[in-house]
Symmetry: C2
Subunit: 454 residues, 2 copies
Amino acid sequence: MNAQKGEHLLIIGGDAAGMSAASQARRQRPDLKITAFEQGPYTSYGACGMPYYVQGLVEKAEDLVIRPAEVFRKKYDIDARVLHRVEEIDLQKRAVLVRDLKENKTFWEQFDQLLIATGASPIRPKLPGIDARGMHSLSLIPDGVAIRRAIEEESSKQAVIVGGGYIGLEMAEALTARGLEVSLVELLPQVMSTLDEDMAGLVAKILEQMGVTLYLGEGVESFQTSNGHVSGVKTSQHLIPADLVILGMGVRPNVGLAREAGIPLGKTGAILVDEGMRTQVPGVWAVGDCVESFHLVSGKKAFIALGTVANKQGRVAGINLGGGNAHFPGVVGTAITRVGEMEMARTGLSVREAEDLGLDYVTAFIRARTRAKYYPGGGSMAVRVVAEKETGRFLGGQIVGTAGAGKRIDVLATALHAGMKVPQMLYLDLAYAPPFSPVWDPVLIALRQIAGKL
Amino acid sequence: MNAQKGEHLLIIGGDAAGMSAASQARRQRPDLKITAFEQGPYTSYGACGMPYYVQGLVEKAEDLVIRPAEVFRKKYDIDARVLHRVEEIDLQKRAVLVRDLKENKTFWEQFDQLLIATGASPIRPKLPGIDARGMHSLSLIPDGVAIRRAIEEESSKQAVIVGGGYIGLEMAEALTARGLEVSLVELLPQVMSTLDEDMAGLVAKILEQMGVTLYLGEGVESFQTSNGHVSGVKTSQHLIPADLVILGMGVRPNVGLAREAGIPLGKTGAILVDEGMRTQVPGVWAVGDCVESFHLVSGKKAFIALGTVANKQGRVAGINLGGGNAHFPGVVGTAITRVGEMEMARTGLSVREAEDLGLDYVTAFIRARTRAKYYPGGGSMAVRVVAEKETGRFLGGQIVGTAGAGKRIDVLATALHAGMKVPQMLYLDLAYAPPFSPVWDPVLIALRQIAGKL
């Protein structure tokens, strides 16, 4: 089912997943004809960097572009075309209908192998005022450019962020740093629904210290407008004045093209793929934010839209298209971000997720220093861990703390991949020196604590 | 073989290993009588912090003391006595001969359970001039105090460090920061013998940029003196003027007492213990820098003197003494330090060690960014990894790089504990966000590279 000699590999979507598949396939197969259609103006851009562009930590939007279309064309012989939107997949004809957005013309393009990397789009609830000016999502580079323009040229002053997830938090910092008055509205009673309540409480405290006003447990009912521009956000309990609104309510996989073509979706609503990134249709592959992943801890399919996962899946598809035999084993639900000086990270199952799965779990919470107590510049960090009571199987962890705290989650993520049990992890030989850690790494202190409950 | 009700647990050595065993045993067993004899003036001190004390990053030597003897006495009911040196163990009488160094009197003290935590001592080669004034090791707190006094009160100006290991490097930075002219002499052709040549080369470069003069591949032949004070270091090729010499040539386990009592040592020359920290003599336990460890990757015994290992072993012994059933699985050879802004870490087997063990290995070296390219404040890091060719078993890794690079070694250390193979590690779900990592963590880039050679 891999590509045959001289075949045409056609890719829908020119961001991380698609282009990383394209490069990998090219590396292994100089004979393939490779074409990639991207509806936006850029290929291979770092969407995760956009909050930092808005904040001004990244100067130009172009700095976020990892590799422009010309480089793909010239250096990799990949015909990457921006401003080209695929509007239909015809599996019978083995062709796609493409619209050249600059010329506004359509044409059919044949393929032998098709890779779908259509990504995901921000959720935009059908509420009154949703289409007003001043309403923004953050998904493509032009979104970031528009927000920055709103700040710099339209002098927006009062921002409301809808949604307390990763994008919401990062934008709260970015906009606060830019001098805006920032409110954050979240339907759930806590920010960061992927963290447990107490850990999320630590994050909320940081946001408040930063000057962000939190409206938790409040649903948005409408967006008020004045002359077609947003002027306020009406929640179940408040009316918050706003001249800039950021929607950070999560994303949905872009599966319209695939669904209409009859390519099977999974239970999560994203495209169903095997470990080799093949859909159920021969010769059709899918990668990135439009597919569902296997969650190695829950044993269930999950929809997790993250750049690092997209890149990995792209590589696996590229290797397989090129005649290799790679497997994407799945994810363990690792994620990280920072707000101000505080880092927050999670992996595996939270307490809530363990409960929802009906697992018999134990959990522990500890606080510790990031460095030896006597070494300057250290701070404190909190760790929560979860394990299965009967088997001792490690299930997941969460970390909130100062510099150096967050990336410690990787130890726990690695343990999840290896299927380790808590007793195996108690004496992990983790790196110790006073500038890096207390003599017992905080992760080990947390594991020690939970071991006592098994 | 655990302690019986009301028994007397006697501990020789009041640093990390011994006192952590004492505290753990106390926590589980309020009935035990616990006595600890420490020959130095402090209990439970952070010896690893001494270079930072010399540098001035830690103000007072007392800041390094995690828990003073009074606290053990008052809060834990542990009779911790400093300035008490144990001079003999009599296994027949089940007693030790103790010298009260303040009163200069000896007495016999009975025990039911004996825990040996005598630590290790710096190697002092029997070379001419070794006992001159101005010659220093760095093992106990008074050593650090003496060095700082030499700088602050005796105005030492020209320091020579003998040995390019962890202590040597940390002292090179400390003394450079204090304004001394620093030379470092190392018998081997590279610094940091636990790193492979190219990685050590990166470290050497940093030392040189810091102003340290390196004399590599040169053995010390004698220490020149003037009026009983060191005035120079004569190597096989140079005569280096010096008014302060630091010996950083490694340590040897303090096993004299144990050996004379007939407690069996292992092949490494350190005390032989099982996974529960029991020696071969019933009722006699040993922990910390005086025992040998099982190296989980080489499958051989190794002598590794590190505070974090000592603490873990102390805890295991304490649990077992208290009636529990804990196992110290062994080490994977993880270590970390920093010089200036550069961090260096290692775990498992180096290329040289894999070779020495006769393993059929492959290795890979990569350079990558510590953060997303567009995110400010990132730097570069180098990673070397080693794997077994036939089985794909991951064997070890080394990292040299800027802030955030070093602790990434913990991912590799965890994988070693779990016995992971490289193909299992290629798509580890490690935490990604632009302030923390490129979209492919450098560790994964290195693993990807080595996978291509399997």
